[in-house]
């Protein structure tokens, strides 16, 4: 086998109490009644371990929305996997946290929308901020690694220093500063989220300073926005090369967004073995390796580093999954990204958080700015 998967992204549910406007979930969410059972997940972890997978990243939606999450995590540990819970923290109290750690949870990652409560709740479309702070304090009382993730974009970048100082006092081992990537809901809301070049340049300096200050105490990882980069990101470390994702209904995908791609059929773990899907299925073989590559990728020295960029972004922006990622400055379709960047820099408007008494009112008030992520049926 030329490649074996190293990490499994387990989207255990698409249900979520938050409505983040930058959510990377597909806009067509998997319904509750189709969700895999505890036993089906346990079988997936056993199969994954045999395939060489080392990590299971639990995400969603909000993984805590599943009542059996502790059993699911225990099943992953029993299969020898490192377990990472990516969560908003909503649905977690100290008692449940204790049970998760006892079940073998290795690492917990909580994302914050902002340091300012009104803005954080506005971006998430939910009153979640205060609970996240409380929970972060509780996490430090348990033997589990803690990462704080901060998603940055046009609406909060202007006070990045304040946000970093806020995160620091939560005492994580790791901080991840992630610029929004434009898939799913984030793509629909791109105009409200994409930073200006001036915002971005300032952010790069602030992050570099923080990294220096944190050295040896907190590890800081940052994700740069690919619309402003010269070359595309090595999305998922290459198609079907290192990662696989299983959605709540058991569909096996090479990445978060692949379901948008036309003409591909994704197999389900309910019908086929994970090994067969990884090795043999046409969807996983479609963009694996270099045979599919067009020019300029085919003759480019960087093809072994970025693998031609992201197939989903090529489809979403250029309408064709088989072309070079438009984020690449060498791509024939790069003008599409350039024009989005031009538009983002044509004004420096930042919106003030809208106070609302309910989610429905918030949706109405913000309708001109962005669409909130909604929940599956």
């Amino acid at each position: 086998m030329p490649f074996n998967p190293l990490a499994l992204i387990a989207e255990v549910t698409h249900r979520c109490p938050l409505h983040c406007v930058y959510c990377s979930n597909p806009m067509q969410l998997a319904g509750t009644q189709t969700e895999l059972s505890t036993g089906e997940w346990a079988s997936i972890f056993q199969q994954s371990g045999k395939l060489g997978v080392l990590h299971a990243h639990f995400t969603g939606g909000e993984p805590l929305a599943r009542a059996d999450l502790t059993e699911v995590i225990a099943a992953a540990r029993a299969a020898g996997l490192y377990t990472n819970l990516i969560t908003s923290g909503i649905g977690l109290n100290e008692q449940r946290l204790q049970a998760l750690v006892a079940a073998g949870l290795d690492h917990i990652q909580i994302s914050f929308q902002d340091s300012r409560e009104d803005s954080a709740n506005w971006i998430a479309g939910a009153k979640a901020h205060a609970h996240k702070i409380e929970l972060s304090r509780a996490i430090r009382r348990y033997k589990v690694a803690f990462t704080v993730n901060l998603v940055v974009h046009r609406q909060n970048l202007d006070h990045l220093e304040e946000m970093i100082a806020f995160i620091e006092q939560l005492h994580p081992e790791r901080v991840e500063i992630a610029h929004t990537q434009y898939y799913g809901w984030a793509l629909a809301n791109r105009a409200a989220l994409m930073p200006t070049r001036a915002q971005l340049e300032k952010a790069v300096v602030i992050v570099a300073e923080a990294e220096k200050r944190f050295a040896g105490r907190i590890r800081l990882d940052s994700v740069v926005p690919d619309y402003y980069a010269k070359y595309p990101k090595a999305c998922m470390g290459g198609w079907g090369r290192r990662l696989l994702l299983i959605n709540p209904a058991g569909k096996v995908l090479p990445c978060h967004a692949a379901e948008v791609l036309p003409g591909l059929t994704f197999e389900n773990v309910r019908e086929k073995s994970l090994e067969w899907i990884w090795q043999e299925s046409s969807s996983f073989r479609r963009f694996r390796g270099e045979d599919w590559m067009p020019e300029p990728c085919r003759s480019c020295d960087r093809r072994t580093e970025d693998f031609g960029g992201c197939r989903c972004q090529a489809f979403l922006l250029a309408g064709d999954a088989t072309v070079t990622d438009p984020a690449c400055s060498l791509a024939p379709s790069h003008h599409i990204v350039e024009s989005a960047v031009r538009e983002a820099n044509s004004n420096t408007t930042v919106t003030q958080p809208a106070p609302a008494s309910s989610f429905v009112q918030l949706q109405k008030l913000s309708a001109d700015l962005w669409a909130y992520r909604t929940n599956p049926e």
């Binding site: 990462t147 040896g216 090595a234 990662l243």
Partner: protein
């Protein structure tokens, strides 16, 4: 949720010495795996250290050093053990190499000392 585009990229050691210098471990310090880092892997040959964003496969001396970072042995003891084991090599060089190795892992938040 947020995309995990980097998990596959940080899997090799790929250290690249940065410009940030960490204080080296003191002889009396007791190096140990940091929170969220643990040994894993299915077979003896395939032993890896797992950490939140990846894993490293350690062979040879690196593995021998890290296996001794158990929070019990002191840095001084670890050095002495390995100097004894590799008695044909320059003891000062062994000390320097182990010190640099642990500083790098400390910076990555894989080892605490």
């Amino acid at each position: 949720m947020d995309l995990i585009h980097r998990s596959a990229q940080s899997r090799d050691l790929g250290f690249g010495l940065g410009t940030i210098n960490m204080p080296p471990p003191a002889d009396s310090s007791q190096p140990r795996l940091a929170a969220g880092c643990r040994w894993g892997g299915t077979t003896e040959e395939e032993r890896v250290v797992l950490f939140p964003e990846g894993a490293i496969k350690l062979q040879g001396t690196g593995r021998q050093v890290l296996e001794r970072c158990d929070g019990q042995r002191t840095f001084g003891e670890i050095i002495a053990e390995l100097q004894k084991q590799f008695d044909t090599a320059d003891p000062a060089k062994i000390r320097d190499d182990i010190s640099i190795f642990l500083e790098q892992l400390q910076r990555k938040r894989i080892v605490d000392y």
